[in-house]
């Protein structure tokens, strides 16, 4: 079925989309061209009016970006260093956290004296038999 366009539709389309029929929605262009062929004078008037409004709107001031704005935007752009895959960041963070946890644990062990003493474990035959306690104690006292 061929869509038929009347002059009122054509005038509305020219008003909406402007004077260049090639820029109208594709489905409207064929019927519009048919109408231009059939009612040339009225169609031309509608397109001329639309064209004059198009030109008036094009006269609107187009703001030019300042150099400062451009510089700020470029300064915030991605840096090549940011290309590192995210796993490296996570790996680094995990390593740092492990080191920090180790240091903290060591500090706690030393400052709170949580190493077992002779007295506390001397009754444990398994430990005594292994000789671990004596070896450790000698090392720290010597």
């Amino acid at each position: 079925m061929v869509a038929v366009m009347d002059i009122e539709d054509f005038e509305t389309l020219a008003l909406a989309w402007g004077a260049d029929v090639a820029l109208w929605p594709a489905a409207r262009q064929g019927p519009a061209r048919d109408l231009i062929g059939a009612r040339a004078a009225e169609a031309e008037t509608a397109l001329n009016d639309a064209g004059r409004l198009d030109r008036t709107l094009r006269a609107a001031i187009l703001p030019h970006p300042s150099l400062d704005l451009r510089a700020r935007i470029i300064a915030a752009s991605p840096r090549p260093l940011e290309r590192f895959p995210s796993w490296r960041g996570w790996f680094g963070a995990a390593l740092a956290a492990s080191c920090a946890a180790g240091v903290l644990a060591g500090f706690l062990v030393i400052s709170l004296g949580v190493f077992p003493s002779h007295g506390t474990l001397s009754g444990d035959p398994a430990v005594e038999a292994a000789g671990l306690l004596h070896a450790s104690s000698d090392a720290t006292e010597g």
């Binding site: 008036t56 991605p78 940011e82």
Partner: protein
């Protein structure tokens, strides 16, 4: 209608995401005037328009490293981001229509000609006076030169609904700028 220099744009965005300086500069050169123009026409305030343009690019830089070529058109995506930022600011103002910043409109006047700057100011004022949805439609299609399909996609409406907004908006503009276009 063209949306301006889209050839190879996906590649540019990907390279910008990798921090390649020339791709970043090219994207800014191509897109900044368009985005600034959009924000300026939507907000009517040069300083706010600059803020929106800057924020739009910050979001673009954030998105660029994970940009997937072919999934979306960068220009359309950028327009949608900028338009949403404009909406946020307009909502914060508590009203959609902002008075143009340059003082009262004196009109063409009987004894002075209309210079290009006067015409520009008149057009800006007439645009600012349009209802917001009509203004968005006119700005996207007739100033940003987006196709009907692109503009309707950004606005989340059908092409027919866009057409209706355009016709109403331009009818109002035609009436308020009649002294200019009739003299053409």
């Amino acid at each position: 209608m063209t949306s301006g220099g889209t050839e190879g744009e996906d590649d540019l965005v990907v390279r910008a995401g990798l921090g390649e300086a020339s791709a970043i500069a090219t994207l800014v050169t191509r897109k900044l005037p368009r985005i600034l123009g959009l924000a300026r026409r939507m907000l009517g305030d040069p300083a706010e328009a600059e803020d929106v343009a800057q924020e739009t690019f910050l979001r673009a830089w954030k998105a660029a490293p994970s940009w997937r070529p072919g999934r979306a058109k960068f220009d359309t995506w950028l327009h949608r981001v900028a338009l949403n930022l404009c909406y946020d600011r307009l909502r914060r103002r508590g009203r959609w229509v902002q008075d143009p910043p340059d003082g009262p409109d004196e009109g063409p006047g009987p004894d002075r000609g209309l210079h290009a700057q006067d015409v520009g100011r008149r057009v800006d004022r007439a645009l600012a006076d349009l209802p917001p949805r009509q203004r968005e439609a006119v700005v996207l299609v007739h100033f940003q030169e987006l196709s009907g399909a692109e503009a309707s996609n950004i606005l989340g409406i059908s092409v027919e609904a866009l057409e209706s907004l355009l016709a109403r908006g331009r009818r109002t503009l035609r009436a308020s700028l009649a002294d200019i276009w009739r003299a053409d």
